[in-house]
């Protein structure tokens, strides 16, 4: 599977690459995959299954007919015995047609087998567990997890498996989610907070006790859906696949008519042919290559997404990824590393940098956020130390209303840090005055793309902390690649315009929306969609849910809330929003693979015509058209059919892996792929059929 995705140049984490360490699903068991697929390939010969694939069903019927004329060559009228014994010849044709069917079935079986292996490993994590259901009167009753319904409350004790998807409503505990995310570090779960309150059935509580309200009925949980999807049980044909099937069916009907009418034509010009030859020609001409591989391509596409640790709710969503025109990306966590780090103190009002550091430390001792800790670290680098009794001090938490946090010192002093406006207000309320150099520092930081935090003690502003936003390495190149593919990126951030514009320029996004609210997200999506564009976005919070639902491709983070996950059509188990970019490439790759093999399949027909028609109608004097110089009609037909069967087998790896995708413009892609699969599809069979003809020990 590796290197199938050239797109993820940086950071390189194509599936199977460095992400190995946090692989999703306890390594799917792929041993015996091929043995099972071979068995399945024969099971799928059942006409009730074959009939679902119209192209291959024609081959199936053809095989039966050639088998009949193997037993009795004169079944459909007398045949003059020319060259090779008719029965042996017909038998050979039957044999090759049979294997054409088996190879096509094998392709599908391998693709399905991979999904099944993943599903099995998921299923093993999820045995029927005993749940402690809390009854309305408060007592606890032990029930089977399959008896739980939406809305029930259960008690989970350390060591227990969480019986079903739900929200934590009481208690704090750490949960091992490695079964679904592959992340071995336990995750802290507690009620209230959006993200940390949702738990997934099949994961294990490691410590403490939780009370969980169940949010999914049995069989409808997250893991159940995952199993159904990777297994292909709920696989329905995607719109593009249906359209392509229509074309293939029409082509098949066309060749049916061509072949069915050929017999009287051939008889009329005294160059009669046999039913076995006509069926061979029919099978050679109908698009068996793409017909045999089409479903495997679709299943493999879903599988590729799953390998990338993303669960798609439908193939349609994967396909839509290729069509995306606009990516709406959150700045924090997606474009920049999640945590901003303090990188500089800028003193104002004549204070020294040490003084700012001292004040910042005082304001941040109780701040446990990554930003807060980075401020403490930077302050300690400047030599600041805590000069008060920590026990006697009181931490003031950040709130969205005050937009600042800080410490009430034992001496009655108040150290605060926060948004510059908020601190200005605080200082004014304490009777302090403001100076112009504060604004200069504020603008300076903003212009660098950083977030300025003002620091004050009582009524005095000491300075500004420069919180630096770090753009993820390599993003610029990826946005460039996206632009080359015609995908626009829009960054959303709560930062002010200046900061936002700097980060936007640094990351190389096409557009940004500053001071954005969650409502802005849905507005942006609607605006883009009204222009006929397809939009993809990521989100994790409950307030992202409407936007996720509105977007054509909404990817929810697994760490996000149930609401977000339900509104999205994909869930990223690694909770890595940057993956959206890779999904675009996977979607495109799926469509390209389908188009390339269709083009190849149709282009092959030229060579097959030139192999078969001149040799079987040699009596009509058109032998000179036998440009390949094939030995005899029998050899020509057998060679063409062997090629026809083997090419399916040969292309299975390509169908499963996908055509190599490069981030090029549409015209460059067309040029490249037409050359390989169009022109190549015309030439390759000429060479291959000639070679088979040379090797064949038939006169």
């Amino acid at each position: 599977m590796e290197s199938s995705n050239q797109f993820s140049s940086t950071p390189p984490r194509a599936p199977g690459g460095p992400r190995q360490s946090r692989r999703h699903t306890p390594k799917a068991d792929m041993s015996g995959l091929y043995q099972r697929a071979v068995k399945q390939a024969f099971v799928k010969l059942d006409p009730r299954i074959t009939v679902k694939n119209p192209v291959m069903f024609i081959v199936w019927v053809g095989t039966i007919v050639t088998a009949l004329v193997t037993v009795n060559p004169n079944l459909f009228g007398n045949v003059s015995d020319a060259g090779l014994n008719q029965q042996i010849f017909n038998g050979l044709i039957t044999f090759i047609l049979f294997f054409t069917l088996v190879f096509a079935n094998f392709a599908e079986a391998v693709a399905e087998g991979r999904g099944k292996a993943q599903a099995d490993s998921l299923r093993s994590t999820r045995s029927d567990t005993i749940a402690r259901k809390i009854l309305p009167d408060g007592s606890v009753q032990e029930v089977s997890s399959t008896d739980l319904r939406r809305g029930d409350q259960v008690k989970v004790i350390a060591g227990d498996m969480i019986p079903s998807d739900g929200d934590v409503i009481q208690g704090i505990g750490s949960v091992d989610e490695s079964a679904i995310t592959g992340e071995s570090a336990p995750v802290l779960k507690q009620p209230g907070t959006d993200i940390a309150s949702s738990v997934t059935g099949g994961t294990r509580l490691l410590s403490d006790e939780l009370v969980v309200r169940i949010t999914a009925d049995p069989g409808k949980g997250f893991i159940d859906r995952m199993i159904a999807l990777v297994e292909g049980a709920e696989r329905t044909k995607t719109p593009n696949e249906i359209a392509l099937t229509v074309l293939l069916v029409v082509l098949t009907q066309v060749f049916l008519i061509v072949i069915a009418t050929m017999s009287p034509l051939a008889d009329y010009v005294q160059s009669p042919t046999t039913i076995a030859i006509l069926i061979s020609l029919l099978v050679a001409l109908i698009p068996t290559t793409i017909g045999g591989l089409l479903s495997a391509i679709g299943i493999a596409g879903m599988d590729r997404v799953a390998q990338f640790n993303v669960i798609a709710t439908s193939g349609r969503a994967v396909e839509a990824c290729g069509d995306i025109n606009t990516l709406v990306l959150d700045k924090t966590g997606t474009i920049t590393l999640g945590n901003r780090l303090a990188s500089q103190f800028i003193p104002v009002n004549g204070y020294s940098e040490q003084a700012v550091a001292q004040a910042a430390l005082a304001a941040s001792v109780f701040d446990e956020t990554p930003e807060g800790r980075s401020i403490v670290r930077l302050a300690e680098e400047w030599g600041a130390a805590i000069d008060f009794d920590r026990q006697a001090a009181e931490g003031i938490e950040f709130s969205a209303r005050t937009r600042m946090s800080g410490t009430n010192l034992p001496d009655g002093g108040e150290a605060r840090k926060g948004a510059v406006d908020a601190i200005k207000g605080f200082v004014r309320s304490r009777g302090g005055t403001l100076s112009a150099d504060l604004d200069t520092a504020y603008e300076g930081v903003s212009r660098l793309g950083g977030t300025p935090l003002a620091v004050c003690k009582n009524s005095d502003i000491y300075g500004v902390i420069y919180l630096k936003d770090i753009v993820k390495p390599g993003l610029r190149e990826r946005f460039d690649q996206l632009r080359r593919m015609g995908v626009r990126t829009i960054m959303l951030t709560g930062d002010n315009r200046i900061t936002a514009s700097v980060i936007a320029a640094e990351a190389g996004v096409d557009d940004f929306i500053a001071e954005a609210t969650p409502e802005d997200k849905i507005d942006v999506i609607r605006r883009e969609q009204s222009q006929g564009k397809l939009v993809a976005m990521t989100g994790d919070g409950t307030n992202d849910a409407p936007a996720l639902a509105q977007a054509n491709v909404g990817v929810a983070m697994n760490s996000g809330t149930q609401a977000a996950k339900e509104a999205a059509n994909m869930v990223d188990l690694d909770s890595d929003p940057t993956k959206l970019i890779d999904l675009v490439a996977i979607g495109k790759q799926l469509l390209i693979t389908r188009g390339a093999l269709t083009t190849f399949s149709i282009a092959n027909d030229i060579a097959k015509y030139f192999a078969i028609i001149p040799t079987i109608f040699a009596a009509a004097g058109i032998g000179s058209l036998n440009v390949m110089g094939l030995k005899s009609p029998q050899s020509a037909i057998i060679s063409a059919l062997i090629y026809n069967a083997l090419i399916i087998l040969a292309l299975i790896p390509l169908a499963l892996k996908g055509v190599q995708f490069r981030p090029l413009t549409a015209n460059q892609l067309l040029q490249r792929n037409i050359l390989i699969y169009g022109v190549g599809g015309v030439i390759a069979p000429f060479i291959a059929i000639k070679l088979i003809d040379l090797i064949l020990p038939i006169a």
Binding site: P239, K533, L591, G621, Y677
Partner: protein
């Protein structure tokens, strides 16, 4: 030889040069913009609209448009059938001709309402002047206008406009395009010697033996002739069509005839360019068609110029193949006429296609199979873009997006309609009846030259009917009272109807569904269809999908015949 090639080159240069001006004019007509003839035509059309109750010019959906075509064509067909069956007592019948057999009348009616004009009769001895002028002449305008209406409705849909109103398009096509040119053209033909009279045949004593008299057929030919060519009808006033000295007396009239039959389909591609606001794409497509056309003309002309090896062996030197040709036109103008008439679905002939060399026969058949080497009136351009849609669908996936054309996604419905229209209608309407006829060559087909050539004759007849061309390879006993006449009349009716109305409905529904789609903005990730590369890809798709179906037939017909002839058989 040089003269021949020069004639070919100048004729082609003339109609290519006319394309932008005339194509632009047609765009103005169908966009409802001001044109030169407005002062005269606006009141006339106003009267017609109020007379027919189409003053409101309501927009039609695809189905409404298709229904309007079917109903109006049915009504017109019934009228003409009645006219022909009763010509015996109706006026304008100087030679006192009675009614033809019912199947001949039916075939003639269907053949003319479908803009095919396949003729299983001899005009001068079967139909009265009344039937010719009032019946067939009327159809020559309406069926051509119907084709134009379908074409323009398709272009409107493709470019995201509502499809328009069939009756308005029909009327405007006649009043603003077909009629004005026909009036000028008819006068020009008269000046060049084509007769226009209601008087009956002239009876004259023959030169050899003054005691024996001969009737020379004539009639109102000039006005009939110009719309026959311009509307790509092709149904001759006389049995031998444009080879007849009264239909096409000299090289000057021949030039007018060739230019008239190709000028509308060639300029219509430019009209598309105006509608799509992409003259670049129009010229690229135009270039593609022109290239294939030039290739075909060259192939036919060379093979005719080199003549028949068997005849050359007898003569002792290389002489052009003049069997079945008019000496006043020679190999060059015959080859050009034949390639153009089969390519444009006109179907008029100035030489006998049966007598062309096998390679020429190959080209003429291929023209009928492809239907886009200029193609039929209006419908040819529509087919061209249906091919383009298929090319977009097959290869467009290779750029990693759901294929789209002019910003509109090609999805299941479009693929169903386009592939059915382009790929399936032809095999059904040509190969199936062809195979039946060839299975019973004695009882049904009545073939004059058995063997490969006979196969070409049969397939050509159905291909000509299905493509609404109307020319004949000839050599088949397809006219009453031959015993096989009934089979030919009825079986070709199947091909005529199938080849005309199924694609018409499919085209209109396709246009309808495209026009309703929300366009997706163009980005660098969008497959551009106005490039050399994509035009080349389209040519590949046209040749593979269009020709592959008929490769076996071509191999057993003209190709086998060519090898046979090369061996001296």
């Amino acid at each position: 030889m040089f003269q021949g090639w020069l004639q070919i080159a100048l004729t082609i240069a003339l109609f290519v040069a006319l394309a932008p001006t005339f194509g632009g004019y047609m765009a103005q007509v169908y966009l409802g913009q001001k044109t030169l003839l407005d002062p005269v035509l606006v009141p006339v059309e106003g009267m017609l609209y109020s007379l027919t109750g189409t003053e409101k010019k309501e927009e039609m959906t695809g189905w409404q448009y298709a229904r309007a075509i079917l109903y109006s064509n049915l009504a017109m067909g019934l009228l003409i059938f009645f006219l022909i069956m009763n010509q015996g007592w109706l006026p304008l019948n100087p030679t006192g001709l009675g009614a033809p057999t019912w199947d001949t009348a039916l075939h003639t009616t269907i053949s003319f309402i479908t803009n095919t004009n396949q003729q299983h009769y001899s005009g001068e001895t079967t139909l009265s002047y009344g039937s010719q002028i009032l019946g067939l002449g009327y159809h020559m305008f309406t069926s051509a206008a119907t084709g134009l209406a379908v074409g323009i409705a398709f272009i409107r849909g493709l470019t995201g406009r509502p499809l328009g109103n069939f009756y308005v398009d029909l009327i405007r096509s006649i009043t603003r395009i077909l009629l004005p040119i026909s009036i000028v053209g008819a006068v020009a033909l008269m000046l060049l010697g084509v007769p226009e009279t209601l008087a009956g045949p002239v009876v004259v004593p023959t030169l050899e033996d003054p005691a024996v008299s001969q009737a020379i057929a004539r009639g109102p030919v000039a006005h009939f002739e110009i719309i026959k060519q311009l509307g790509e009808n092709g149904g001759g006033f006389f049995a031998i069509n444009s080879a007849h000295p009264f239909e096409n007396p000299n090289p000057a009239t021949n030039l007018i005839q060739i230019v008239a039959m190709v000028v509308i389909p060639s300029a219509f591609i430019y009209t598309y360019g105006v509608f799509a606001n992409s003259r670049r794409q129009a010229w690229l497509i135009y270039g593609m068609v022109l290239t294939i056309y030039l290739l075909f003309v060259t192939l036919t002309a060379i093979s005719e110029y080199q003549g028949n090896p068997a005849v050359n062996a007898l003569l002792g030197n290389v002489q052009p193949n003049l069997e079945g040709k008019e000496v006043r036109f020679g190999w060059a103008q015959s080859a050009l006429f034949a390639t153009t008439t089969t390519g444009t679905m006109c179907g008029a002939v100035n030489s006998l296609h049966d007598s062309f060399m096998p390679l020429g026969g190959f080209v003429l058949l291929s023209n009928l199979f492809l239907q886009i080497i200029w193609g039929g009136q209006g419908t040819g351009t529509a087919y061209l873009f249906a091919y383009l849609i298929l090319a977009v669908f097959v290869t467009g996936l290779m750029v990693g997006r759901t294929p789209e054309f002019l910003g509109r996604k090609i999805e299941k419905r479009e693929v169903v309609l386009a592939s059915f229209l382009i790929l399936l209608v032809h095999p059904i309407t040509i190969l199936i009846p062809g195979a039946i006829a060839l299975a019973f060559p004695e009882q049904l087909a009545g073939i004059s030259n058995p063997g490969f050539h006979g196969l070409s004759q049969v397939i050509y007849e159905y291909a000509s009917a299905a493509a609404n061309n109307g020319s004949g390879f000839e050599g088949l006993a397809d006219s009453q009272p031959a015993s096989t006449g009934l089979w030919w009349n009825l079986s070709t009716c199947f091909s005529l109807l199938g080849g005309r109305y199924i694609p018409t409905i499919a085209l209109l529904l396709l246009a309808d569904s495209l026009s309703r789609k929300q366009p997706v903005p163009m980005t660098v990730g969008t497959l551009r269809t106005d490039t050399f590369l994509f035009t080349g890809v389209t040519a590949g798709v046209v040749l593979i999908l269009g020709a592959l179906t008929f490769f076996p037939v071509l191999a057993l017909g003209p190709i086998a015949e060519a090898f046979q002839m090369a061996k001296g058989g």
